[in-house]
Subunit: 208 residues, 4 copies
DNA sequence: AATGAATGAGGATTCATTCAT
DNA sequence: CATGAATGAATCCTCATTCAT
């Protein structure tokens, strides 16, 4: 005569994943402070208490979300860009494509937006993100730019002092779409094209 | 049923201002949700209840902060840029200077950061900001870019489809400095130089 | 060069009265707990602090209101009823008339309603009211009823055990009109007629 | 960011009931405005927050209290009086008995007192109460009185214009006992007897 | 393991009261 | 005398967290 039919579906790792998926949705929509654990649980189709079997508290859930999802990001990029020894312009083109398809085109976009919103409140996240992703990403980009400079293809050396600016359009896009989508989307392709068009001189030997 | 010490002082407008100043500090540091009215009051050197003599509630205080400080921003820019019929590149240079000195160099920087953080939670603010500042700002920039294009000075016409990208470095700077300042400031001058260098062709008749 | 034009109109006793008038209005409308001192002050056309020059606190104001207005009530009645040695039925008729014109027809009606509402929260008021008004009023009525009984005019001696019931229609009227006036007023005249018609037998020697 | 002991126990409907019981006690004692949710919780032997699991806010709790307890009141009366086609005097006698045993003799008495106190502040309650109870009650009584009149048993037809007066002794009793019990209870039996004795003529054919 | 009822710390807001002007 | 800006105690309500089932 069992009364509570105790669901027992997902294996633990999958359950953990489904909670993080739900958390991404809810945190993205409301921000950390306004997201209620109960909402996340409901989204994941589980009870409130269950969340605490997988994460010690709300903050941990949030931090896990950020680090586990954004961590692997650069791996791919790095590998793919380093191996192919393409001309800088093509390399950057591929990089932009990666950003577009691997981040902005997926729900990871929401994570980036979340980070921009909440980093201020979670310095450890900022630190983790900086040490793990930013630093490596900037180094990666910087190497490409320096190669371009070495080949005399860089139109302005100023960019070597702010490699971060390469990420500006992506950041802009995330923030714009999160807040102003209803007034018209931002044309990300145009933004990337603009960068590619202006950053590099035409390939050697092209028309003057 | 209460006691109550006392303290008379500031004229009402000054008091209101001092509350908004304190609010900017506290909201910037903690974000809207984590800022306690009592903190703001203490920062302003007044009692909790006094805040409510000047603002009906926490949200109003926040919104007033945003709208009263950012509202007048574009006025100046617009006036100054339109009157001076300078070449596009110079015009944009002045514009960047304005951003640097009037926004990023002042505490308004914190407001922009606050907006980027909280707009998601306050759609009315996003709307107000879009209608009041963004739209006008984009139109302003677009006119400059189109003038440049008409003069054949634009290196890539792609930017005409995303005038927002002109603001990307400023946004990046705000977010970077808010979160990663301790890892080294972002070189905003270099970013602006980079834009100016690559956006425009050398003036007509210059050396090839 | 005076800046504040310091009003200085009413003499102190009149000022005190005007505050109590305002208090009656506001307390009646909102009840003690929901009435704000500031509302009362505004009603009286004075500043908030001025109220405290005449009453030490909100509760005192309320109590003064009750006791000073209801206190003198019975004086009149007593005097008028005792002196005129009319038959009981006429005496009670006059008494009902007094209630109608001196209480229910004036703003004192609101005071009675206020009392019915707030006595529970102010036992001292209940005590004062009981000792000052109720006891005397019941004694007065009881004497009339006993005179009627002595003359063999009382239809039921049960009323001698609950003289309070003589006041029931007045109380009912106050509460009904305070809460249900919009659904139609209560016919107070009919209620008093009903009492007079049923309480007493027809005068001695009348037709069977 | 919180701790939390525990305690499991009552089934939900019982828990809800226990909160309403506690609420009746506390609201009756202090009135709506002065009752603290925490007091009610403590009375019910539960934590503050638990109240909010069963009622969205203080006002809802109060309104539920009123409507759920007083709503069913008339059902009984109506049924019992209509079915038994007794003479008017007996019918009214039964009605008074019902009031005495079903209302004044139970804690519902406190509810009536609460209503008399708070209706002013909650017009919706007044409306609900009027539409649900009062109207039906008055119609019920009126029918009895009219039957009496048709049978020539009514001593004064004035009562047909204020059937509310039939409830006056009950109301008086509630208010008296709530406020002046310590000075001696009101003799409710005498009051009802008085009404029954005077309202109706002796049954037809009795001695003159 | 999973649940959700129960808890109480935390923070927004109100308003009686004081007192500098 | 009069004023109303300033104060902070008091209370409602939310929601992260716990734990009996």
């Amino acid at each position: 005569m069992n009364k509570a039919p105790k669901r027992r579906s997902l294996p633990p790792e999958a359950r953990r994943k489904s909670i993080m998926d739900a958390a991404l949705v809810v945190f993205s929509e409301k921000g950390f402070a306004n997201a209620r654990i109960e909402d996340i649980a409901r989204h994941a189709g589980i009870g409130k208490g269950t969340v605490y079997l997988y994460f010690p508290d709300k903050e941990s859930l949030f931090k896990s979300l950020i680090s586990e999802a954004l961590g692997p990001l650069l791996m791919t990029a790095h590998a793919r860009l380093e191996e192919a020894r393409l001309p800088p312009r093509e390399t950057l083109g591929i990089f932009f494509d990666l950003i577009r398809t691997e981040v902005l085109g997926t729900e990871k976009r929401d994570l980036v937006q979340l980070m921009a919103m909440e980093m201020r409140n979670f310095p450890e996240i900022a630190e983790f993100y900086h040490d793990t992703i930013i630093r490596a990403g900037l180094a990666l980009i910087l190497r490409v730019l320096e190669r371009a400079e070495a080949r005399g293809e860089l139109r302005s050396t100023a960019v070597l002092k702010v490699p971060q600016v390469i990420f500006a359009p992506a950041l802009l896009s995330v923030i714009w779409n999160a807040n102003f989508a209803r007034y018209g989307d931002l044309d990300l392709d145009a933004a990337f094209d603009f960068y590619l068009d202006t950053l590099f001189k035409p390939a050697e030997g092209d028309a003057p």
